[in-house]
């Protein structure tokens, strides 16, 4: 297939990533865990690491610092391609990290909970404003489908081209299908770009 490094010293696969976003408690880590080949991993970053000088550390031994946590998983596509899934921090206050997260992302899944649609508004705004392709996954883990897809679309003010998929983030097949919906969405965008080149 030809994605592997051409450097004979390193046979490293090519890494790609998909972001899993949405508000607090919508099931981001659950989705990552249900499709990942490893239990979701957690990594941390300092909130203001760049501003902490070593001189400031004197006398603060034992004092904690604020970290922001990221949960992520991994799917080995084949020997030449590996897909990482990153759950994004739910709180807007941590979105300064998103440049790091967003760079190199193929696209995103925004999870919504129909009982609390508003907690995912900011994620949708973010990807729309950045022009990052995304699909919306309606997490029906509580078994309540109290709104029609049309009502959800209207409440989210969703562009008609953005796919909306019902899912149960705990279910591997359902999680996989949300990711496949994103890939189909990217392929459709690809076909449109090829048919109508911008420049």
């Amino acid at each position: 297939m030809g994605f592997a490094s051409s450097d004979p010293g390193v046979r490293a696969p090519l890494a790609v990533k998909i972001l899993v976003a949405g508000g607090f408690g919508v099931g981001k880590t659950t989705l990552v865990g249900s499709v990942s080949e490893v239990a979701p991993l957690r990594t941390e970053e300092y909130l203001t690491h760049a501003s902490i000088g070593v001189d400031d550390l004197e006398g603060v031994s034992g004092k904690s610092t604020t970290t922001v946590a990221l949960d992520f998983g991994r799917i080995t596509i084949n020997s030449e391609l590996v897909l990482y899934l990153f759950g994004t921090p739910g709180q807007e206050r941590f979105w300064f990290m998103w440049n790091d997260l967003v760079n190199g992302a193929m696209g995103a899944v925004v999870l919504v909970d129909t009982r609390r649609l508003e907690v995912s508004f900011a994620s949708i705004d973010f990807f729309e404003s950045r022009g990052i392709p995304f699909v919306v996954g309606v997490n029906c883990f509580h078994g309540v489908r109290d709104r029609t897809q049309e009502e959800i679309r209207r409440a989210l003010d969703l562009d008609p081209q953005v796919p909306l998929v019902l899912c149960d983030a705990r279910d591997r097949a359902a999680g996989r299908d949300v990711l496949l919906a994103l890939i189909d969405h990217l392929m459709a965008a690809h076909a449109r770009a090829a048919a109508h080149p911008v420049s």
Binding site: M1, F3, S5, D7, G9, V10, A12, L14, A15, V16, K17, F24, G25, L41, R42, T43, E44, Y46, H49, A50, I52, G53, V54, L57, V60, S61, G62, K63, S64, T65, T67, V68, A69, L70, F72, R74, I75, T76, I77, N78, E80, L81, V82, L83, Y84, F86, R93, L101, N103, G104, A105, M106, G131, P133, A173, R176, L180, M187, H190, A193
Partner: protein, 132 residues
Amino acid sequence: MKHWTEGFDDDHADEPLVRPYTITGGRTTPERDDLTLITLVTVISEAPADNGPGLRRLQPEHRTILALCKQPLAVAEIASALNLPVSVTKILIGDLIEAGHVRSRPPLAFAQAGGLPGMSILEAVRDGLRKL
């Protein structure tokens, strides 16, 4: 309204801030800015038994990275395995790149390809996901 710390792991809240930056010799920012969360790191040489001249003394964490990266591993995975923040991990990986112990492979840069990954990549991901 929820407090902003709610839901965050505070298992390590009592750990001092000093330790991670002791590992890096006091450096708080990576010298390299080309390492991303999914840059893949692979060992290309074994660590010398004793540190050679001109090499920054290897910390145990450096040696752990060398042991981990016999197979290609992403920066985020290394940080997770070391239980260290990403920025500290990047500094350590930068040391190993500089010393010639590891190589890094950056992820695909979609920004240079009109913002979309190539069709062949998309097809490969789709085929891989279908096997899940």
